[in-house]
């Protein structure tokens, strides 16, 4: 029972975060629907018609739009599919943590040494995840239902409840995949990347199906396809027990394979491992000159990571920008969307590129910052900060170098991604001025600076909770920025978001907002310096 309780605890933060994201997104989407779709049947029919045209272009990301003149149809299209992705990503990370992360911390070894069998260890972790995932999903769905009640367009509670099993099956499929991949690889980082590729692959398989391709029976390999088959929130929708059963069976099979692999591999080793290099030993230090230079050493250590982010963001930027023309044309016929675009200061194709791309880019850059904050906290917990300080590096230098590395890395990622945006704009004949795009890209850095500095101040104060808090700041900033114009919130409320302070520089540069972000960054850095100076270092 102790093992199960500890396993539950290990998933606690993720469960709370996903429930909060799912619930918050559900409430906002439900209440936003009434604002943008209108309340009368003709308004909603017009909205549904226009959005279904737009939605056809978004099938790589969202399901085919159906019944968008109803709250249930809108939630299926806009909310639950995205929530499914969030839960799949969490499940994947939780699984690699359970299957490999705990091993890296020595926890697995300790439990096995205490007489817990390998099968029991993994099955307990899996069982605990089923429990927390069920609870988290239930909270998300209850809050989403609450959102429809607040919007005075409640969907039947039984229909909301009907979404629990399909979402749970999708989540457990991703957990099983992550757990199995964790047995095949040597580190959690590699396992997470490999599991991420699998999740993206099965998502893409379903996206191709949505876009009209016919992958044949291979479609059953995608848990996202299996999830899409259940539509209890639609007027004539239902739950597909076969699809759920297949998803759960695959999840169970993957967990069983994980146990099988764990029984056969060495603790700390991978099921499949290469031979040790048999060359001559090396006695001297690395000749990489960048490793010996301040700041550049930090960039050098993260080169693969930064390149990965830059390429992925460039591809995403290309795709989103390519949709600008379709989206603008589609929104022209929706009065509520016209009001929304007007409030957001969007009038032309280039403005849409700015609004769609940079709002997404800011969110992704925020994830980049959160990952950096996490690595700063880990530097302390894992003794690397102690090594640097013992080598004669001053504490202020540590803070300044970290912020500098963050800004340079973010600059590279943002710069490369904007190249993707520009190429797409040229390819689809969207007039995006290069100088304006460059300026808008550069203005991403004050946002990164502000969020990074807040993150470092939190790391200096409470390293263990810093990541969760800075992620909360980022999520809140995103939602406030997205929904402030939609609900016509007062200006001060909209300005409470770091992303809102960025504004829409493709349309009009908000210099006051940029200056505010820089001031927040400087203040955060000052707090970080003070906290770093005062605190004790070490585990």
């Amino acid at each position: 029972m102790t093992l199960f309780r500890l396993a539950l605890q290990s998933h606690r933060t993720g469960a709370i975060a996903t429930a909060a994201i799912g619930g918050f997104a559900g409430i906002l989407n439900a209440t936003a629907y009434v604002s943008i779709a209108g309340a009368t049947p003709p308004d909603r029919a017009a909205f549904a018609h226009s959005m279904e045209i737009v939605g056809q272009q978004l099938t790589y990301l969202l399901p085919r739009p159906v019944q968008l003149d109803t709250m249930g149809g809108y939630l299926v299209w806009r909310d639950l599919s995205t929530i499914g992705i969030v839960y799949a990503v969490w499940a994947m990370l939780a699984a690699t943590g359970a299957g490999r992360g705990d091993e890296e911390k020595g926890l697995t070894e300790a439990w096995l040494a205490a007489g817990v069998s390998r099968a029991r260890w993994l099955l307990t972790r899996a069982g605990a995840f089923v429990a927390v995932a069920t609870a988290s999903l239930a909270i998300s769905l209850v809050l989403t239902e609450l959102g429809t009640v607040i919007a005075q367009d409640a969907v039947p509670a039984s229909a909301s409840a009907g979404e629990l099993l399909p979402l749970l099956a999708l989540t457990l499929w991703a957990f099983g995949a992550g757990l199995f991949v964790a047995q095949l690889t040597a580190t959690r980082r590699v396992a997470s990347v490999a599991a991420g590729i699998i999740v993206i692959a099965v998502f893409t398989l379903n996206s191709s199906l949505r876009a009209g391709a016919d992958p044949g029976q291979a479609r059953w390999l995608s848990p996202f396809y299996l999830f899409d088959r259940s539509t209890p929130l639609l007027a004539d929708g239902s739950v597909d027990p076969l699809a759920i059963a297949v998803s759960l069976a695959v999840a169970g099979l993957l967990v069983a394979l994980s146990v099988w692999a764990f029984l056969r591999r060495d603790v700390g080793g991978a099921l499949i491992r290469g031979r040790m290099p048999s060359g001559r030993p090396r006695w001297g230090p690395s000749s990489d000159p960048l490793l010996r230079l301040p700041v550049l050493a930090g960039i050098d250590q993260q080169r693969g990571w930064i390149v990965g982010w830059a390429v992925a963001m460039a591809i995403l930027g290309y795709f989103l920008s390519s949709l600008a023309r379709t989206i603008v044309d589609g929104f022209k016929d929706i009065p509520a969307m016209q009001v929304y675009l007007q409030r957001a200061g969007i009038s032309g194709y280039a403005d849409v590129v700015g609004a769609i791309w940079f709002s997404t880019a800011l969110l992704i850059m925020a994830i980049f910052v959160v990952a950096q904050v996490s690595s700063w906290a880990a530097d302390d917990a894992e003794g690397r900060l102690e090594t640097a300080l013992a080598a004669g590096v001053s504490r202020p230098r540590v803070v300044v170098e970290r912020i500098a590395v963050l800004l340079i890395g973010a600059g590279i990622v943002a710069g490369v991604s904007s190249v993707g945006v520009y190429v797409a704009a040229r390819a689809f004949d969207i007039p995006v001025p290069a100088d304006r795009l460059a300026l808008a890209t550069a203005l991403v850095l004050p946002v990164v600076f502000a969020l990074g500095a807040i993150g470092h101040a939190l790391v200096g104060w409470r390293p263990r909770v810093a990541v969760a808090l800075v992620a909360a700041v980022a999520v809140a900033s995103y939602f406030v920025q997205e929904f402030a114009p939609l609900f016509d919130w007062p200006e001060w409320a909209g300005r409470a978001s770091l992303f809102a302070l960025y504004g829409t520089p493709m349309t009009k540069v908000d210099w006051a907002g940029a200056a505010t972000l820089i001031v927040i960054g400087i203040a955060g850095t000052a707090v970080a310096l003070a906290a770093m100076r005062r605190r004790d270092v070490g585990r």
Binding site: T187, R282, P285, S286, D288, E386, L389, A390, D536, G538
Partner: protein, 305 residues
Amino acid sequence: MTAAEEVAVTIAIHTDKLTKDYGAGHGIFDLDLDVNEGEVFGYLGPNGAGKTTTIKLLMALSHATTGAASVFGLDADRDAVAIKKRVGYVPGELPQFGGWRGAEIVAYVAGLRGDIADADVEAIAKRLDLDLGRKYREYSHGNKQKLALLLAFGPKPDLLILDEPTSGLDPLHQQQFYGLVRDARARGATIFVSSHVLSEVEHICDRVGIVREGHLAMVGKLDELAGIRAHRVRIEFADTPPVERLRSLPGFESLTVDGHRASGMFRGSFDELIRALDGSRVVTLESREPTLEEVFLSYYAGSTE
């Protein structure tokens, strides 16, 4: 030169009522300690006695609750950066560098310090038989410890602060470590080494300080340790143990008898013990080095009686 200046050039480490109070009796309290330049100072104590806390204070990784410490006359906290340019450090808990190769870690730390010569790195790596081409996560605990030693000794610092430096090293490489210490001392370096193994400090130290439950219990030259040097002895007899002879034997403490077996803590000459056993049929005689806690329990219990 004034007396104060004379002290400043001959004392490498000085603490004055140095205290770090973590609460519930944990930490280090009112530590007054001087370590001379050029000496090898052993800092002994059982686990949890406050050794690592002291070292973290000297390295300015933790801040003192009260009191102060100085290294080479510089304030350990205020002048931490200047001090560390002259210090090599082995932490008690090894850092994690994941997928970095040993060679990359060395280059990175060399870049931070700016005073590690490639030739010195190669010499120490060869001496410790440490392949720097392998990834850190593939290193055994002993190899990770060797890398920590390389990073500490590589810059040829004036002061080495080593927290349990032989942890995980096999006997052969422990000898290599003793050799590194001797070489460092020969070029005039000061070495402050913590350990919980009495025999280890006997190999290398000129002077020792013993810390227990956060307080410095004693400081003295190595030969003064002989007073507390002890062995845990267990003797199995073929018949009834000679209890009275053992009890009256000077240096035999904490005697317990269980059937044909007698055990206790013995400090003194084994010649006398063997003479005391004369006439008894001894089946086995085991002697092992006690833990420091056992030494303390017997030594201090004895001194308070």
